[in-house]
């Protein structure tokens, strides 16, 4: 009898140890009992689309949910995604800096300096024309996969990141709540990128004075100063009210303040299209005439987003205006709006710069839901 008990105890011990995978309890069908006991009842996230904005294109397989957005926010601010836990998405995309970092070139793991500046994430969910400065990926979900494995950004490998998240005391439960996983093995990079994309789609900014004036029907005659209105006329080539068109809105018009297209905006001197050190879009498409083309970024909160251009070459908005006023460097593919000498006088430059400040939405930074969920 005693021997039978001993055998029974050994069998039970054997079964229990067989059911532990990666240090976790699993049910024989592969599910984790501590996960499946948690509810999976995601609630839709009601994303408010501001007046004048298009409906956001959200993939059918990644709808916004409260749980998914919350998880994405947590991952966004968590350095767990980097090899040495020093860099998070928020290292380069800081809320108070227009989701930028105020550096000419991005700085990643081990203080390595990247080849380009960080891009603002404001209203990124409305972008339908590729991501990064060179448009190399088509979706936010795909975009979120890249920095983790970039050796000068987060410098990790996905297998390692997945393992860290699976072993983490709380992340598996968050993934359960957001995506219904019932085993840690189902916590994959695909779900990480989906969560990050969900959070990024909520980063909607639409409360600048520009928005209020032109899209929200605010008819306060003093909302914009006379100087700013003169700047508006230059920005939008309103030749009824100004003698000089700045041609700015060709690339930066509409509620998004960008057409999300790619241009050589004449900031680089080259002898031929083959001479661009950073080929930008051309490196992606393989088309020579795309060499030196980069995305026209949104000008939303641009006053807070210095330095400017993909390589951070201009320190101030005044320098940017000076560049376009004097005309840029010639190249076969230069954007024609960028090479004509606008010859703006000092007042016109001041007016244009003042108008650029009307794109600033300070209310964006007070929103708790965009801040880090971790204690300071």
């Amino acid at each position: 009898m005693k021997r039978k008990r001993m055998i029974g105890a050994l069998l039970l011990l054997g079964w229990l140890s067989a059911c532990r995978e990666g240090g976790q309890n699993v049910i024989p069908d592969g599910r984790d009992p501590d996960l499946v006991q948690l509810p999976y009842a995601p609630s839709p996230y009601d994303l408010e689309i501001p007046p004048g904005f298009p409906q956001m294109v959200i993939p059918a397989d990644n709808p916004l949910t409260l749980q998914g957005v919350a998880l994405g926010r947590r991952l966004f601010y968590d350095p767990i995604l980097s090899a040495d836990s020093t860099i998070s998405c928020s290292s380069c995309h800081q809320l108070e800096q227009a989701f930028n970092d105020r550096l000419p070139l991005a700085v990643g793991i081990g203080n390595q300096v990247g080849p380009r500046s960080s891009m603002s994430l404001l209203n990124i969910g409305f972008n339908e024309n590729g991501f990064f400065w060179d448009g190399r990926v088509r979706t936010l979900e795909e975009q979120a996969l890249h920095p983790v494995t970039n050796p000068v950004e987060m410098g990790d490998i996905w297998e390692h990141v997945e393992e860290k998240l699976r072993r983490h005391p709380t992340y598996p439960a968050y993934f359960r709540e957001a995506f219904g996983i019932d085993a840690r093995a189902q916590l994959t990079r695909s779900l990480v990128s989906k969560a990050l994309a969900q959070f990024e789609r909520t980063l909607v900014s639409a409360n600048s004075r520009y928005d209020q004036k032109f899209y929200q029907g605010n008819d306060d005659p003093f909302l914009l100063s006379d100087l700013e209105i003169d700047g508006y006329n230059i920005f939008f080539d309103d030749l009824t009210n100004t003698s000089k068109g700045g041609h700015c809105a060709h690339c930066h018009g509409g509620p998004l303040l960008t057409n999300n297209d790619y241009f050589n905006n004449a900031i680089q001197a080259v002898n031929s299209l083959d001479d661009f050190q950073d080929k930008g879009l051309g490196a992606i498409t393989g088309r020579r005439t795309d060499n030196g083309k980069f995305r026209a970024p949104s000008l939303r909160n641009i006053a807070l987003g210095a330095p400017y251009m993909h390589n951070g070459r201009f320190q101030t908005l005044e320098e940017v205006v000076d560049h376009y006023s004097s005309g840029g460097h010639w190249a076969e593919n230069v954007n024609v709006q960028s090479i004509n000498h606008l010859s703006l006088n000092d007042y016109e430059k001041k007016a244009l710069t003042a108008f650029l400040h009307t794109f600033t939405d300070t209310t964006f930074y007070t929103r708790e839901e965009f801040r880090s969920p971790f204690p300071e």
Partner: protein, 262 residues
């Protein structure tokens, strides 16, 4: 036995619905769009063309909207909708090979018969030419291109864009030459064009039509006149107080668009 009117109507309804799906009664049209300059395939960026004043001109951007495309029946009255709207973009025709590869649009289930030609609008029809076009469903050409073509200050789409560089000093295109950007927009410059070409749509067959835009004809007008690009005032069309350049360019659409059997 009294028959229900619904039952009587059913065979008629079925027969009508069968007509549309029945390949015996419908055919297809494939519309191939191309751009040319003086009848040669238009290559953007590296290729120079001769402007009417003898100087060189080079194109970088050429795109725009065609809308309300209809097939016009033999009687000249009947109209069969072909496409509500399309956006054409020849800007990436950077090689001779690209330039002869057409943008293709296809419409099926068109009534079999003889047709007299194609009617189309160049630009955005007034009903769609509003900021609300931004709210159209994904895939609609007006929504897809809203950010690049809706000009907030006018409250109008830019109907087409023709951009490039003009050899102002006559010594070849290079540093110092001005860019030009012709962006006609607003309801006033919407134009309807009828292209006369008898063709047939046969049952179960596809009729190929080649629709081409010869850009030289936008700039070179009748009786030797042309848009004088040496005048800086003519380099851009963004003055709502003076739509003369925009109107002059848009008046040429009837000459610039051509339809051929393919």
């Amino acid at each position: 036995m009294k028959k229900s009117p619904l039952l009587l109507a059913l065979p008629i309804l079925l027969s009508l619905s069968c007509r549309e799906d029945d390949p015996g009664n419908t055919g297809s049209v494939r519309l191939d769009l191309l751009a040319t300059y003086a009848d040669a395939p238009l290559v953007t960026y590296g290729q120079d063309y001769t402007y009417p004043d003898g100087r060189n001109i080079r194109f970088q951007v050429l795109n725009g909207y065609l809308s309300e495309l209809v097939l016009v029946g033999e009687d000249g009255i009947t109209e069969v909708p072909l496409l509500d709207a399309l956006f054409f973009d020849f800007s990436d025709n950077t090689t001779p090979e690209d330039a002869v590869r057409p943008l293709t649009f296809r419409t099926d289930r068109l009534p079999v018969g003889n047709y007299r030609g194609l009617r189309l609008g160049v630009g955005v029809p007034a009903a769609m030419n509003t900021p609300q076009a931004n709210q159209l469903p994904v895939g609609n050409p007006f929504r897809t291109t809203f950010n690049s073509h809706f000009w907030t200050d006018w409250g109008s789409f830019i109907f087409f864009k023709s951009e490039g560089i003009y050899d102002k000093d006559g010594n070849g295109i290079g540093q110092g030459d001005p860019g030009f950007g012709h962006h006609p927009g607003t309801d006033e410059v919407f134009r309807t064009v009828f292209l006369d070409l008898p063709f047939s749509v046969a049952a179960g067959k596809t009729t190929g039509l080649e629709l081409s835009l010869d850009v030289s004809r936008l700039y070179a007008w009748e009786e030797g006149a042309y848009l004088d690009l040496s005048d800086p005032a003519n380099l851009y069309t963004h003055n709502m107080n003076d739509l003369s350049v925009a109107n002059q360019l848009c008046d040429q659409h009837a000459r610039a668009w051509r339809l051929r059997s393919n």
